[in-house]
Symmetry: C2
Subunit: 280 residues, 2 copies
Amino acid sequence: MEIITKIKQMQAKSDKLRKQGKRIGFVPTMGALHKGHLSLIRQASSENDVVIVSIFVNPIQFVSGEDYHTYPRDFQRDEKLAKKAGVNIIFYPVVEEMYPQELLTFVNVGRLNEGLCGKFRPGHFQGVATVVAKLFNIVKPHRTYFGQKDYQQAMIIKRMIEDLNFDLELVIMPIVRDKNGLALSSRNTYLSKKETKAALVLSKSLQVAKELLDSGERRSEKIISRMNDLIQAERLAEVQYLEIVACQTLEPVEIVEKEVLIALAVIIGKTRLIDNMLWE
Amino acid sequence: MEIITKIKQMQAKSDKLRKQGKRIGFVPTMGALHKGHLSLIRQASSENDVVIVSIFVNPIQFVSGEDYHTYPRDFQRDEKLAKKAGVNIIFYPVVEEMYPQELLTFVNVGRLNEGLCGKFRPGHFQGVATVVAKLFNIVKPHRTYFGQKDYQQAMIIKRMIEDLNFDLELVIMPIVRDKNGLALSSRNTYLSKKETKAALVLSKSLQVAKELLDSGERRSEKIISRMNDLIQAERLAEVQYLEIVACQTLEPVEIVEKEVLIALAVIIGKTRLIDNMLWE
């Protein structure tokens, strides 16, 4: 496994691989790899000749007051996990390599960034779209892999790829959960034992929504209200948002008629967690 | 010479060329080719294995009330000129190919888009940056060629390339003028005979600025005032802006101490023309 830290070197390497006819699969990450990332890597490995993972904690996607400085960083651990999972190249730049001068150029994906997390993290998705555009130009992949856990992010990247004609295929992989149902996230490491238990209200409330929908309930308000009750009952949990939206437009749906996304953000202690479920 | 109208076909072609080790030079245009474009094409031809010219009148860079619908379009004439100048491929998409659905994603290059033309054409440079990002992803060039005549545009594209890590080299070519000094522009075809004569005030005023600077004048205000007097004397001309700015930041300069750009926009009859000069 090769570790590349310089942009020009990464671009030259990808050019060389492409010239050799190799298909490049790309998994962008902020490190702190968990089984969710590993599922993306394994999928990339099965579909491409070369798997490149980027590890970069991207400052411009953290909103003021968020956890940029405390975000878990452990390169040696990530390196071992990546190697074991079959990664060929880690692209691991420092901040000054990615942002050598004041950044003046930003990529914005309108409307899709307005609801859900976008409402509570102003500028977050602009930071994500911009860094992902940069990474696409640096890694030059044929396919890229994102997790459904960050569903809004995946939809924004999908639209950016379409609108800006990035010549690559986006693969969205299912949420990976621990044995109790908690969606894996690098931020789960922030949780105390008590909080980890409390955090189960996210997936449990999605289960409640699923049961209601399966049994014929179609009114979003009713479903959201029942989810809310369940979460309110957990002393350590505070709902940030709880929404039922159309899968493509991410616009709220009052009556469920076709496939929807049920999405929520909940603050457990001081840790903000998200989860979601597609229902058809 | 090949004409390609589909994005996927253009991308596949460029992939193939790159695999063969060919260097691709790219000249984006809106057609209505003149000797300015041809100088870019010839330079591209001398430095690359393959020259690709795009011809696309990009709706999203025209501001409301501008000349999108009347912009000169003559593909057969452009085709002949391109062929004669040594172009290998013309990428010639229709609007529905470039914008098949509502565009939600925009590229913005902050600050550099605020002054000069940006003040008078709100949204113009966003439209330019966005379509150029798209074209870079479609044509996948090694080098791209822009004219100094649209200096602000060239600086915005330069910064976009740096900020978003497009893996290509930007070449900026000098302004081409007719025998009387008028900077070549596709919009010169709008001018009547009288107006064409009146339009010489743009280059003449730049000459006045040069003479003043050469003779030691350093106060921008004085230089601009003299340029303004010359243009005011022409009944058909109306100054839109007249500025002396720093070459890199495009911020106004009060006292000329190092290299500057003298730039102006003048409306002749109903036609908006721009011109500029670098002075060191």
